[in-house]
């Protein structure tokens, strides 16, 4: 086999961090090559260099033996390199055909393009209507737009950045079939992921990155998942301990919560009902964009609902704002750390004040007690091992994992009775993620009720007592998490609301 793309000694440094340090490997013709590593291992920077978004500080690339140094994505695409992004590079207010035209060098006339989109989408089993607005599509359909945009250019190398993180298990199956078809046609695929089982199933070879350096290139089918995980993380991981949950009184209850969408492309919540007991963790899964943010907002008090739709300890709280809910012990941590859970340009002291005022008594009659706020911030930093020079630093200066530890620590140290968390470990390195999960389990063990919303099913299975899935703003009946099969979870996420029909 000949190498399609050779990378030789690629290095890229950003201030304070070497994103890629002397990375070399080859991608063969017609193979699916995995790029494996934790968040922050340098996978994204590496593919951005291949795609021409970032210029390497040193090192060279060769495409089919000739020198390859794309100054911009356009040049990379012209050479036959296409990329499907993790956070889609799509335009919500434009339609599918327009979105695809934007990703092509010389798109045909719109009508012709629409016909070709329909044709290609059918050939690869990815049905798509070219005239729909992208903002109205589900995450899975959006990904199809990206993939078809790439396929229309007959790429030699297709780069896919964490493609399955937004898909239901069933959609993953469809994607894998498409990728196998492509591979059989001779297209090489660079497949970025941190999901080991997927890689073992799909990929012919795998390159593992850790802290910007290449650790190994191996055949994933010959390695155990555990061995690859250890190469990726560099140490054995601490597994959270879990104590069984005993039935106790209900802390939080939702009755038919219905909430119209707050923004143009938002999701409407429809008839959501569930209850969480003291000491219990309810895991809520689902593909991104099915109402996770809206449900978090409805629980935190950022969005108000019918008073009786949400009850805490039997009291209606649907009309209470965030601070009133904090007062009675309902705390929340939204998904977006920078700009939602924390103010990026403000110091950690000010960010401690952001939610800690009520329960920690950081002000008196409106006048702020800065020393007390500082002490609280320092307490969070110490208890949750937040790495920062000091509480006076701006939130945006912290790494994703450290800021997440700060955000979650800030809520946990306020001794919540009910804690709602959206994506507790998104973009957090494995060690910090394990710490966060352990902290959540400890909190539940101490009697708090937790609602954990996540797209990481492994995480939910690890910590949840019961599991439910969000689909287009509806929530399935929560079922015990223990013993749920992947297939059942997939059907729940895919919108099968009645689990009996599944079994």
């Amino acid at each position: 086999m000949n190498a399609l793309l050779d990378l030789d000694g690629l290095t890229k440094a950003y201030p304070g961090v070497v994103a890629n340090d002397d990375v070399s490997f080859s991608i063969q013709e017609g193979e699916v090559h995995a790029l494996l590593g934790e968040n922050g291992a340098g996978k994204s920077t590496l593919v951005k260099m291949i795609y021409g978004l970032v210029k390497p500080d040193s090192g060279t690339m060769q495409l089919r033996g000739s020198s390859f140094a794309p100054p911009e994505p356009r040049a990379a695409r012209a050479s036959g390199v296409a990329m499907v992004f993790q956070h889609f590079s799509l335009f919500e207010a434009l339609d599918v055909a327009e979105n695809i035209a934007l990703g092509m060098e010389n798109p045909p006339a719109m009508r012709e393009l629409a016909a070709r989109i329909t044709e290609v989408s059918q050939n690869y089993g990815l049905p798509l209507d070219p005239s729909r607005l992208v903002g109205e599509l589900s995450a899975g359909e959006r990904q199809r737009v990206e993939i078809i945009r790439c396929l229309l250019q007959n790429p030699k190398l297709l780069i896919m950045d964490e493609p399955t993180s937004v898909l239901t298990p069933q959609e993953v199956e469809i994607l894998f079939k498409t990728l196998e078809t492509l591979k059989s046609e001779g297209t090489s695929i660079l497949y970025i992921s941190h999901k080991l089982e997927e890689i073992r199933r799909l990929c012919d070879s795998a390159t593992i990155l850790r802290l910007g350096k290449k650790v190994a290139t191996c055949n994933p089918r010959e390695e155990t998942a555990k061995a690859m995980a250890e190469m990726m993380v560099g140490s054995t991981l601490h597994q959270p301990e879990r104590k069984p949950h005993k039935t106790q009184e209900v802390a939080l209850q939702l009755h038919d919560l219905t909430l119209p969408a707050q923004s143009a492309f938002g999701t409407t919540l429809k008839n959501i009902s569930f209850s969480v007991q003291k000491g219990e963790i309810l895991g809520i899964g689902g593909v991104a964009g099915n109402g996770q943010d809206e449900l978090t907002a409805a629980l935190s008090g950022e969005a108000l609902s019918d008073a009786g739709a949400i009850e805490m300890h039997g009291k209606p709280i649907g009309q209470m704002g965030p601070n009133a809910r904090r007062e009675i012990g309902l705390l929340a941590a939204p998904e977006e750390r920078l700009g939602h859970a924390a103010a990026p340009d403000m110091s950690l002291i000010e960010n401690a004040l952001l939610t800690g005022d009520i329960r920690k008594g950081l002000s008196r009659r409106g006048f702020l007690n800065w020393p007390k706020a500082k002490a609280f911030a320092e307490n969070v930093i110490a208890e949750f091992d937040v790495r920062t020079p000091g509480p006076g630093n701006a939130a945006r200066a912290l790494s994703g994992g450290n800021l997440q530890k700060f955000v979650i620590g800030r809520e946990i140290l306020q001794a919540p009775e009910v804690l709602v968390i959206n994506q507790p470990t998104w973009g957090v390195d494995a060690a910090a993620a394990a710490d966060i999960r352990q902290a959540l389990l400890d909190l539940a063990a101490n009697g708090a009720a937790l609602v954990v919303i996540s797209q990481d099913l492994d995480e939910l299975m690890e910590i949840s007592d019961r599991f439910a899935a969000l689909n287009e703003g509806r929530l399935t009946e929560p079922v015990p998490a223990f013993g749920l099969s992947v297939e059942q979870i997939g059907l729940m996420m895919g919108g099968a609301h009645d689990l009996e029909a599944v079994q």
Partner: protein
Amino acid sequence: MDLSSISPTLLIASLMVAATPILLAAIGELIVEKAGVLNLGVEGMMITGAICGFAIAVETGSPVIGFIAAAAGGALLSLIFGVLTQYLLSNQVATGLALTLFGLGLSSLMGQSYVGIKPPQTNKLDIPVLSDIPVLGPILFNHDIMVYFALALVVLVWLGLNRTRAGLVLRAVGENHDAAHALGYKVIRVRLLAIMFGGACAGLGGAYLSLIRVPQWTEGMTAGAGWIALAIVVFGAWRPFRVLLGAYLFGGVTVLQLNLQAAGLAIPVEYLSMSPYLITIAVLVVMSAKRGRTSLAAPASLGRIFHASQ
């Protein structure tokens, strides 16, 4: 009071003239906002265009060269805004305000020796045969060329936005600049060009005031026209033909109140002259109250600062 002195034919013909400066500025700002940039300096660019066009037309004796100079002056001034917001990442609201304040000062500085002069006359097109048609003739076919130019510009902008690749890229940049950047489009370049187009259009609008509509130079003569143009872009929900409609509606209100003033309506002049502003506010309220549709139409990246980082 004598309402019969108001001729509907003349009224419609003159509303087209009254609407043209605002239409020009608004259609330019529409392009700027479609690219995701909010330039609140329209008023400043208009007044700068007004004096540039006036001065050059007086010096050269040619209104055409005057209009070209006005477009160049507006574009040049908008370039200050462009460099500040696109390269130096300054706040667009503050920078737009600064542009207006600076433009007002600069224009009155430039215009000192032009107060009280009459500019060279811009001829009406007076299309033969067509302009002789009763009623329709004077309304539609007896204007100066800029009225038709503004109408043509609306059509061109619509075609450009919806039927060309450049228009698609412009909309993409305004919708999601990070995604456009990831696809390899030059966000800053697209936006600078859009800003300069907006500046040129505002300059033309200003010159139309000083060379044709008024026609003379006085300090602060735009009197809020730039702000009304901004409001009309919102009213038009970022669509060229609705902007046209908005501008003509506004022109109608202006002309009507002027006619009522002349006809001696029993309302004090001051109250009549504030009516265009009040009606603009009322229209803004109605438009923004119908939330769903307008919020969908507003470019998603409008006013956000773009900095390509890692």
